[in-house]
């Protein structure tokens, strides 16, 4: 029971939370969750209340049902994305900047409407399905190169070989950053992922400053010499009627980094694990690749992997539950997409399933990069199935997972051939 011993401390349950709504779940360290995340999610749906309070990690709400997530995600007045109210946060960041230098803001992910819309609007065209569709060829080339490099070896640790490098390379290419920044960004992504999987304080600010610093030169160069990349596009947009500044571009770069890199990797890891465990599905998709886009959607639903945090913005009753201002609530989207009230036999992978999942969240904070993520996942699955023979999990090296605001795969050893 060494793992159980490392769970975060239990904090006293607030008086207004009835005992019937308390369930002990450590979203970072729960041993069963870390052993096989979505198996534990199904169990939680079965035995925990649809909205419950956990005394772990300082104590917070967990929104598990589809209905709770769908409603809360669209109620920005009740469930704020601002860790602290905007003015307070700005004040704090300005104070801290005196000591540690300017701190980049990941706007608009941590803002509420209407300011959220002000900072999101300029990005929407850049991440629209049409703009993103033009990247398909580039992404396919990158995926093919990575896969060909391992195809002959009969085995690989898929996260390090494919799932991590692909989104980082796509990101650098889209932003127009030099390829020699790759090792630096790869290391920053690693550090970011390690921090995501822990509840404790981490050097988040220093890391965001490094992310911004690594793109500073490219941003400056593009100001006067535009090219066909996102940094150039962002120099051309306006925020609320004013031109963008160097600081705005660094903020956006940091946003794209924290929202778009490890998430795609984990989606790839979880999807490829399912394929490796289901050779019949691989065969079906190889025989009819037109089914792969359905498979991408169903994998996103079956293995939804983000848990966005919210702050309860006022005392309120939510779905019969009393919540108090400034309590924390997690949109447990993996639970929403496995809710039997919403999806029949949710544990089954069903290529013919219709209807929509909310793996990219709902409401105004719907994942801005969802169109890019879908294309990366889809192309990766297509190229993987085309370039490798039937692959399976390495029987002697089982996968390992990490859990937190992103549910992910730590290692995924695959084997193929004889």
């Amino acid at each position: 029971m060494t793992e159980a011993a490392s769970l975060s401390e239990l904090t006293p349950v607030p008086e207004h939370v009835p005992e019937t709504l308390v369930y002990d779940f450590d979203m970072f360290k729960d041993p069963a969750y870390r052993a096989d995340p979505h198996k534990r999610v199904l169990e939680l749906i079965d035995i925990a209340p649809p909205v419950f309070w956990t005394p772990r990690n300082g104590g917070h709400w967990m929104l598990v049902s589809h209905s709770a997530n769908f409603e809360a995600a669209r109620d920005c007045e009740g469930f704020s994305s601002e860790v602290l109210p905007y003015e307070k946060m700005e004040e704090l960041l300005e104070q801290m900047a005196d000591e540690s230098g300017r701190i980049p803001r990941a706007y608009p992910i941590n803002l509420d409407p209407p300011l959220h819309g002000t900072y999101r609007k300029p990005l929407q065209g850049v991440f629209s399905p049409r703009t993103i569709n033009e990247l398909k060829g580039h992404i396919r080339t990158l995926a093919g190169e990575l896969l060909d490099a391992v195809a002959g070896s009969g085995e690989c640790e898929f996260m390090a070989a494919i799932a991590e490098p692909l989104p980082v390379k796509v990101f650098l290419g889209m932003l127009g950053m030099p390829v020699d920044k790759y090792p630096e960004y790869r290391a920053l992504v690693r550090a970011h992922m390690d921090a995501q999987a822990s509840s404790g304080a981490s050097d988040a600010i220093g890391r965001l400053q490094k992310v911004a610093a690594a793109m500073r030169d490219t941003i400056e160069e593009r100001k006067d010499k535009r090219e066909d990349d996102i940094i150039s596009m962002l120099w051309g947009v306006e925020i609320d009627g004013r031109e963008t500044t160097q600081e705005d571009l660094e903020n956006y770069g940091v946003l794209l980094f924290i929202a778009g890199l490890d998430t795609v990797m984990q989606g790839i890891g979880l999807g490829v694990r399912h394929l490796a465990e289901n050779p019949d599905l691989q065969q079906q998709l190889r025989e009819d690749p037109s089914l792969i886009s359905n498979a991408t959607e169903e994998l996103l639903r079956r293995y939804t992997f983000t848990v966005p945090p919210r702050r309860v913005a006022k005392d309120m009753e939510f779905q019969g539950v009393q919540m108090k201002k400034d309590e924390r609530a997690m949109l447990f989207l993996p639970g929403a997409d496995l809710d039997p009230a919403e999806y029949s036999s949710p544990e089954e992978f069903n290529l013919k399933r219709e209807g929509a999942h909310i793996a990219f969240n709902a409401g105004p904070h719907r994942c801005l990069g969802s169109h890019l993520a879908r294309i990366e996942l889809n192309i990766l699955y297509e190229e993987l199935l085309a370039r490798l023979p039937q692959f399976r999990m390495d029987p002697v090296r089982p996968p390992s997972f990490n859990c937190g605001h992103v549910v992910g795969v730590e290692s995924l050893h695959l084997v193929w051939g004889d």
């Binding site: 909310i358 409401g363 969802s370």
Partner: protein
């Protein structure tokens, strides 16, 4: 058959557009660019599928 869309509630998932870019056109930002339309004969099933694909549930099918 008619389709009615609560355009102001669209958050840009573009799943309807993925089912049929002809029935469900997008604006420059990738959000729905139409509020209401008669479904052309023969496209009923496509229209229903487009409506079901919306994670935000803002597309209503009005059967005649």
């Amino acid at each position: 058959m008619k389709i009615r869309i609560d355009k102001s509630a669209c958050v840009g998932n573009a799943r309807c557009w993925a089912i049929s870019d002809e029935l469900f056109p997008l604006d420059e930002d990738g959000y729905i660019d139409i509020e209401e339309f008669e479904v052309p004969a023969g496209k009923e099933d496509l229209a229903r599928r487009g409506a079901r694909a919306c994670p935000e549930r803002v597309i209503t099918v009005i059967e005649n």
